[in-house]
Symmetry: C2
DNA sequence: ATACATGTGTTGAATTCTCGACAGTTCTAT
DNA sequence: ATAGAACTGTCGAGAATTCAACACATGTAT
């Protein structure tokens, strides 16, 4: 692969410059010169790595998205719902937030006001598709509450993403563990609460809460 | 000169690595590998810039010392003693402390417990030679106090250096201006005070203090 | 409408850096 | 006392980066 130190160094420099420039100017208005000046790299060198500025943007974004997706795919609703009952953070979820923290600058900008509006949508869609619906399948009773299922899915996804966003915007004061525990708990509690609503409304089949092995 | 970006970049990386490693281990025990590993640079590249590790140390130190000396040479006792009476920082002295601030990491380490004991001596000797004695020449009456002249010189130099050291050790909280003003004032006050001692002992030729155009 | 500045891609030759290897030295532990 | 590990200084071949220069496009102010 790209074993040569120089390649990884200049790509890192370019990426760092991209984030900085994107934070200053919009995501538009960026020029190749901006990047190479900021990175203190010859302008020609840029074209040794990327064909284009839009190409670079695209490539960087998909690389980061792949990294995030890859970690989110390892999440298992069975696991973190069970960790929630023990008030412990799901280790797999910690990995996810460590990834956010590792690339804090990128995510802060890309998810911020001058970032790419499509990016948070990507995340939310993934959450909806791979997790929330899974949870509802694990707990089919939840789907029978007063909320229509699609609203429920939307609600879970949005609330979780909003926590991540706030964490990032406030400079990531808390550790990845803390946020992981927070989300784990919120998920657990929400599930419990909604289950309670269902019980309240249809009040019959009793259960000792959400606890799942 | 060294126009090529790569040269300045790797030299900067090496210098940064040197400071970091010097802070961890002593000034001894450092190895070329340490530096090139920390700087993420090929070991062979080191020898493209320096013949040796001691050579690099020497070179870096003299470069920094030259920079410092160069700025200190522009100081003029006439000026800062006059600025002192107006409670303003001498602009030339501000330049000196801005230099300290610019290379804060280097000075913190080189003047610190794991640094080079010879370095502060260098500074002090310079102060003694180029400034304190000048002051005493400007104010020859000062030389006639109870303190022998050599002790006086030593006293001034040491007290000034100690302030800089403390500034550096405490993480340079104050701005360069603040420190410049502080030193300017201390110099002015000290001169006044010692002049008072002399007056007290020999009490005759009266003057409106130290003020000098 | 024209000049003028700024940005884009691309090129070729020169320079610097990387990688992997080498033999020789010094330190350390057994 | 000796083997093993780590460091040193050096080398050649090849890869990456630099620099200066192109021609061309896109504004932008006069």
């Amino acid at each position: 692969m790209s074993m040569d130190r120089r390649k990884v160094r200049t790509k890192a420099l370019l990426r760092k410059a991209l984030i900085e420039v994107m934070e200053e100017k919009g995501p538009e208005r960026i020029t190749v010169r901006d990047l190479t000046d900021k990175a203190d790299i010859n302008r020609g060198t840029f074209y040794l790595h990327y064909t284009d500025l839009p190409a670079m943007l695209q490539q960087v974004k998909t690389e980061m998205w792949d990294g995030l997706k890859q970690r989110m795919e390892k999440l298992n609703p069975y696991d973190y719902l069970s960790f929630a009952t023990r008030n412990e953070p799901d280790p797999m979820m910690v990995k996810v937030f460590e990834y956010y923290a590792e690339h804090a600058d990128f995510f802060r900008v890309i998810l911020g006001p001058k970032g790419d509006p499509a990016f948070p949508v990507l995340i939310k869609e993934f959450l909806k598709k791979h997790h929330i619906t899974k949870i509802l399948n694990i707990q089919p009773e939840l789907a029978e509450t007063i909320l229509p299922k699609d609203y429920m899915v939307e609600y879970f996804a949005a609330s979780n993403l909003s926590i991540v966003l706030h964490w990032i915007e406030t400079g990531m004061q808390e550790s990845a563990d803390t946020i992981a525990l927070l989300i784990t708990n919120i998920l657990g509690i929400s599930v419990e609460r909604l289950y309670g609503i269902k019980n309240h409304n249809h009040g019959n089949k009793r259960k000792t809460h959400v606890r799942k092995t």
